[in-house]
């Protein structure tokens, strides 16, 4: 019986549920014996000139081994995003100017953990405050520059062509609106951490919490000016990443440099308040959407203009508008699509990937546009979507932006979501409440989405070895941090070889064992690394057959795998001699190494229906139900797949309702702890209703697409739309995320005022 598509419980869990996982800060590795603890002194001011740094008192504090400033570090300051102006480098420790609250200014190394914050308090830094640039519109004016040498705050412009003034000329109806896709924090439960130790061989062992060991190795080596072979990155268990742990943080290289400088291992693990200012944050686009079409519901033209916030030092966030532009038209077949984006620096935390990374921004924009257009012509939001989605016979479909969608049935996904939610009945409930004038109104939101997965590195490697004791070992270049690859990859090998899942060990995240790998990001893992394991299994079977042919005195063509016994047998010859993989491994190493290259991205899609209740007297919104159709092709393990969808849906709801990283006009973060940031608990969320739909991609032999980010991309616009829908009878057409009670209440007050 095939193991594919079955609910195999995770092989990771027994350790996680007894001794607990081993995260970077938990390590007791002997290489870290005698390690110093690093505490960073961070700027409390968003934009300032540093006039002096006095570390003398700190140096005298108990347990202090060293206190360093930027003047002590002989490394070139790195540019964290290659395409940004070359002046926008981030100092290792700021010496002249600080550009965001949380920027490192001094490094304190102590014998014991508790001594670090004590000594850090004694570092005396004099700041001469400068006016802060917080709003991207202010940044665009270039009146107040973060990097005067660069001469501008703009770090990237995508599409420099002027917009065509006649773009909407043939549209009967045109609607335009400025909307905000607010900044949010990835807020992985494990904060950032790194530990480094240099060996006598001149190599550095670097343990980090990250989503890609190989990428982190290359970046750290580059920054330190050493060969990549000198850096051995090991990823212990990682307590969540959500995109924010893609790429090395400068702190990683600083830890390695300090370990070399002091000749002792160094450990660093940040606090949550450091994390909420120091770790990269996500989203943060100010968008102008313009949509035009005819009164019969046909959308003809769509334009998306974006100003994106890179934060103080350009990082991956500068690139993400590329994804936003690629996915601008969403699931819709629109004749004319136009987009442009400008990315600027501000005195805030740097931005980078967060679950969806550029695609949720595109989806929320087009979905708001569809709702606004539907409201303008008086059409049902589900209906307008079905009229405009790409028809199934048009796949593979190339959008006006030149993006090729591999496979999809968008209208069917919408229909499934409408059917599951009993949409017609929901509308009746809504009508009845409106007629009664209830204080608590319900709103129904419908989203249709398509996203791009595996859009970065299309290839991934895997090695597979069967041992003489019948066990197998897989090394993968993906980098699980909760996704369950140890279980899923074992299932893929087990399916072909017949070796039970609990006898297959899957390992990852060690650059000495896997020198090349793309890590886990952009929902790429299953469609690249998973398929690589499948391919490795087939190659191992070929190798086993070639060897078995001699032993069994049969031709290779006559051999097949007996998965019940994990053996090679002669086809159609019961009772004849067989040889197991284990027996073959006993004779000679039975191992393959392979690379699977899908050469293209895939495009998962779906549709969500959300129902919210809005208390019109208080503005409080409650998500009552959410039905999600998320189609990422065939499902390998429904337990894992559902888990990814649940987590994604929760993060989308959180963005729609609760979460926002807020800076005051001076650049002070107002949401720098979990007491201030709107991270939802179980009490604010419902259980989720998942609907199954599986449309394979032709891009890989198993038809897999990615599922990691789909839930987030689909749920945020559905919930935001539902909040607006609950109040549409008051003439309300839009409320920016997060739709907090204050915002909703204010929107209601404004609408009532206008009405009166």
């Amino acid at each position: 019986m095939s193991i594919m598509g079955t609910r195999v419980v995770r092989v990771e869990d027994p350790v996680f549920l007894t001794r607990g996982a081993t995260y970077t800060d938990d390590l007791t590795d002997e290489r870290l014996t005698g390690a110093l603890h690093l505490t960073l002194v961070r700027s409390p001011i968003a934009h300032a000139t540093i006039t002096s740094i006095d570390v003398e008192a700190a140096r005298e504090a108990p347990g202090v081994v060293a206190v360093l400033t930027g003047a002590d570090i002989d490394l070139e300051a790195p540019l964290l995003f290659a395409g940004a102006p070359k002046q926008m480098v981030r100092p290792w420790l700021a010496t002249e100017r600080v550009r965001f609250v949380g920027e490192p200014v001094a490094a304190v190394l102590t014998e014991e953990r508790y001594q670090g914050p004590d000594a850090a308090e004694l570092v005396d830094v004099d700041y001469e405050p400068l006016p802060a640039v917080v709003d991207v519109r202010e940044a665009l004016k270039d009146e107040n520059l973060l990097f005067p040498d660069a001469g501008t705050n703009t770090c990237s412009v995508y599409n420099k062509e002027d917009p065509d003034p006649d773009f909407f000329a043939d549209c009967e109806v045109v609607v335009t609106r400025e909307i905000i896709n607010q900044r949010v924090a990835a807020a992985s439960l494990e904060t950032r951490a790194a530990s480094a130790a240099w060996g006598d061989d001149g190599r550095c062992t670097l343990f980090v919490s990250n989503q890609n060991a190989q990428g982190a190795r290359d970046e750290v080596a580059g920054w330190l000016g050493v060969d990549a072979s000198q850096i051995h990155v090991i990823l212990p268990d990682v307590g969540g990443g959500f995109g924010a742990k893609i790429g090395a943080d400068p702190e990683f290289a600083l830890v390695a440099w300090l370990a070399r400088h002091t000749g002792r291992p160094v450990r660093w693990s940040e606090s949550r308040s450091e994390n909420m200012t120091g770790m990269v944050q996500g989203r943060d686009q100010r968008q102008t959407i313009t949509i035009g079409g005819s009164r019969d519901g046909r959308v003809k033209a769509y334009r998306l203009d974006v100003i994106a916030d890179a934060g103080a030092y350009p990082r991956l966030g500068v690139f993400l508008p590329v994804f936003t532009r690629m996915m601008a038209p969403g699931t819709y077949d629109i004749e004319k699509v136009d987009s442009r984006a400008t990315v600027v620096v501000t005195n805030t935390t740097s931005t980078a990937a967060y679950r969806g990374a550029g695609r949720p921004e595109a989806t929320s924009a087009i979905e708001r546009a569809m709702d606004l257009f539907a409201a303008e012509i008086g059409m049902d939001p589900a209906e307008i979507r079905k009229i405009n989605v790409v028809a199934p016979e048009k796949f593979p479909f190339t959008t006006k932006g030149g993006v090729e969608y591999d496979s999809g049935e968008y209208a069917k996904a919408i229909d499934l979501a409408l059917e599951a939610s009993d949409y017609a009945t929901l509308r009746e409930v809504q009508k009845a409440r409106r007629e009664r004038g209830d204080a608590k109104q319900i709103g129904i939101g419908v989203s249709s989405y398509v996203e791009i997965t595996g859009g970065g590195a299309f290839a991934e490697n895997a090695s597979l070895e069967v041992h003489a004791d019948g066990t197998a070992l897989v090394w993968t270049g993906t980098s699980p941090h909760g996704q369950g690859h140890a279980t899923a990859w074992a299932m893929l090998a087990s399916e072909q070889l017949g070796i039970p899942v609990d006898k297959i060990t899957v390992r990852h995240g060690d650059t000495d064992h896997v020198p090349r790998g793309g890590g886990t990001m952009g929902s790429r893992s299953l469609q690249t690394g998973g398929v690589a394991v499948h391919q490795a299994s087939l190659e191992l079977i070929d190798l086993a057959k070639a060897r078995a042919a001699e032993i069994l005195e049969a031709s290779v063509e006559d051999l097949e795998v007996d998965t019940a016994n994990a053996a090679i047998v002669v086809r159609g010859a019961p009772g004849s001699p067989t040889v197991s993989f284990a027996q073959l491994a006993e004779r000679e190493e039975l191992k393959v190494q392979t690379v699977f290259d899908g050469k293209k991205a895939t495009f998962p899609f779906g549709s969500h229906v959300a129902v919210v209740e809005v208390d019109t007297e208080t503005g409080k919104v409650t998500v009552e139900r959410i039905w999600a159709v998320d189609d990422a092709g065939p499902v390998l393990n429904p337990l894992l797949c559902e888990g990814q969808r649940h987590g994604g849906i929760a993060q989308g709801i959180a963005q729609a309702l609760l979460e926002e990283v807020v800076f005051d006009p001076d650049g002070q973060p107002l949401t720098a702890t979990f007491a201030d940031y709107g991270f939802p608990s179980a009490a604010e969320l419902p259980s989720f209703d998942l609907v199954t739909m599986e449309t394979p991609t032709p891009i890989n032999p198993l038809g897999f697409k990615g599922i990691g980010e789909a839930g987030t991309i689909g749920s945020a616009p559905a919930v935001q739309s539902a909040v607006v829908d609950a109040l549409s009878h008051l003439g309300i057409r839009h409320i920016d995320m997060p739709t907090t009670p204050l915002r909703v209440w204010e929107a209601i007050q404004d609408a009532v005022k206008e009405d009166g």
Binding site: F16, T18, R113, T673, F674, A683, P741, E746
Partner: protein, 184 residues
């Protein structure tokens, strides 16, 4: 600062040490005893990753001083794993595995102890009681869906039936709405 002697029974074993009065119980467990299942995820007693049982009641060990636990009994997730240290016979940990109630695992030890404490307080849990009872424990991976199911299963309930009842109910859900939002 003068150190203080503490005697704390941890997972049935007597431990003793001279500690700084400011030492957090979470750090005592992790650093002094090497029990690293208990994690620390925030500075503000918000996330609950450090939840342990103190004399049978769930507490956040980042907000308890080691000296406050003197002469008391602490149970961490390691304490649910039996003599061998690797048993999944405990109904709570078993349910977390069966229901896929964990992904990255960071919140898990705290969640498991919070659920253990919750069931001890109220054996007759429904979905709403689980959700409100776990309000102080944050998870970023699971969306809580399967954690809630695991808690219901551990409490001897049918999670499908309980979720159906909750979905159909009109009971108000709490939604504090922390973020003030920037501007309007």
């Amino acid at each position: 600062m003068t150190n203080v002697k503490v005697d704390i029974t941890v997972n049935g074993r007597t431990t003793t040490d001279d500690v700084e009065p400011r030492l957090l119980l979470a750090h005592y467990l992790r650093e002094n005893l090497g029990l690293k299942a208990t994690n620390i995820g925030c500075d503000t007693t918000s996330c609950g990753a450090c939840t342990v049982l103190l004399d049978g009641e769930s507490v956040k060990s980042c907000t308890v001083l080691a000296v406050q636990a003197d002469q008391l009994a602490v149970t961490t997730m390691e304490g649910l794993a039996g003599e061998s240290g690797d048993s999944l016979d405990n109904p709570v940990t078993a349910a977390f595995r069966a229901e896929h109630g964990l992904q990255c695992g960071f919140c898990t030890p705290g969640m498991v102890m919070a659920v253990t404490g919750l069931i001890a307080e109220n054996p007759d849990l429904d979905e709403r009681a689980v959700r409100e009872g776990l309000e102080g424990n944050l998870c970023r991976c699971t969306g809580y869906h399967n954690i809630v199911r695991a808690a219901l299963v551990a409490a001897g309930k049918d999670p499908d039936a309980e979720q159906e009842i909750e979905a159909e109910s009109d009971a108000a859900r709490t939604a504090p709405g922390f973020s003030a939002g920037s501007g309007s």
